[in-house]
């Protein structure tokens, strides 16, 4: 079973939920945790350990100056501005290229071939018994986050229990993370911004046909707005994490509440069971 932890908005506690859920599952037969927040991966901070690195290459054009007639077709085709055809050569801006491959198709002189360019790495580690952590890490200055997300998902495989930690927002990397998964846990807080962005995330999951449920984080006990939203959108509230001094203290020192506070490991295991029950897929 594959589930995504997403939020719409940053800073809601998405990583907290992923990390604690993974910890509880590692203790119950194993889990693969995938950090798909490739611009700012941070799950490895909770689970330090030696990792194996593998580059993520994307195809980019290489132009053969012998064959190129400087006709300009590739430059006019490229909507990302990666190719500028000058009088004497073709200029290539690697960081603007989206690896669509269109330039190789439109070139009438067959002067363009594709070569690999590394835009990120996927790091795989086994920091705890039962836990495999796969982190997608995009290189600085790059833009092809979905490619790194896809590579991380591929490295994690298809077997067993998989938890994907999505990046904030509902842009391309999140859509790439959601693709092909069974359920989406949406972490929110009961604030106007939290609910606005939750709305966007709910729509994204619905558009992809992925069932979703909500975890309310940093609850001050006055969650009427969030509960009303969930009721209105027919979203189950799977768990509520109280805004509690003890919880905050563990989080602030980078700890895991499922490991450091009594009762939380069971609660996170229960969250998984709840999700599994709703997916009707074997957990």
């Amino acid at each position: 079973m594959k589930i995504v932890v997403a939020s719409g908005k940053g800073g809601t506690g998405k990583t907290t939920v992923s990390a604690n859920l993974a910890y509880a599952l590692a203790r119950r037969g194993g889990v693969t945790l995938v950090d798909c927040d490739v611009e700012e991966p941070n799950l490895h901070l909770f689970f330090p350990g030696e990792s194996e690195k593998k580059g993520v290459p994307v195809p980019v054009p290489a132009i053969d100056p012998e064959r190129c007639t400087l006709c300009g077709e590739c430059g006019h085709f490229c909507r990302y501005g990666a190719l500028t055809v000058l009088k004497d050569r073709v200029l290539f801006f690697a960081e603007l290229c989206h690896s669509c491959g269109g330039c190789t198709l439109v070139c009438p002189a067959a002067a363009i071939t594709e070569v690999g360019r590394e835009v990120g790495v996927v790091e795989t580690s086994h920091p705890l018994p039962g836990l495999t952590l796969v982190s997608g890490v995009m290189h600085e200055g790059e833009v092809l986050a979905p490619k790194v997300v896809a590579a991380a998902k591929e490295a994690a495989g298809d077997e067993g229990r998989i938890v994907y930690d999505a990046s904030p927002g509902v842009a391309c990397p999140v859509i790439e993370t959601l693709e092909g998964t069974d359920f989406c846990i949406l972490v929110t807080e009961s604030t106007p911004f939290g609910l606005h962005d939750l709305d966007l995330a709910v729509q994204a999951a619905a558009a992809l046909g992925i069932p979703a449920g909500v975890v309310i984080n940093r609850s001050d006990g006055e969650d009427e707005a969030a509960l009303a939203f969930c009721h209105e959108h027919d979203l189950p509230v799977l768990m509520t994490i109280a805004f509690d001094r003890e919880v905050a203290a563990v989080q602030n020192r980078g700890g895991l509440i499922a490991r450091d506070l009594p009762g939380w490991e069971e609660r996170f295991a229960g969250l998984w069971d709840e999700v599994a029950g709703r997916c009707e897929v074997k957990a």
């Binding site: 501005g81 500028t84 200029l91 801006f93």
Partner: protein, 111 residues
Amino acid sequence: MIVCITAKGEGADAAVEPRFGRAPYFVFADTEAGTFVSVKNELVDAAGGVGPRSAQVLVDHGATILVTGQMGGNAATALKAAGIKAYSFGDAATVAQALEKYTQGGLSEIL
């Protein structure tokens, strides 16, 4: 010689536009023939990569001089590689004024 001036509208009387890649119009002035050709910039609302793509428009129209306000790094790289010199229009208000200041040598080079 073809001079490209970034503008908010068409023709010699249009107001100059400080942005290069997202300028609404490129006005190409042919200094020998004394003509102005205005080209609508299709990239005004494009997501990205507008610098090099705008440079491509200049190359396609044979411009060797650009008079604008400012530009980004990729635009500068492309213009430089294409051998197009760029100047700031300074306090010129219209395309005609910017061109006049350029021909009199009163503009500062930005690239």
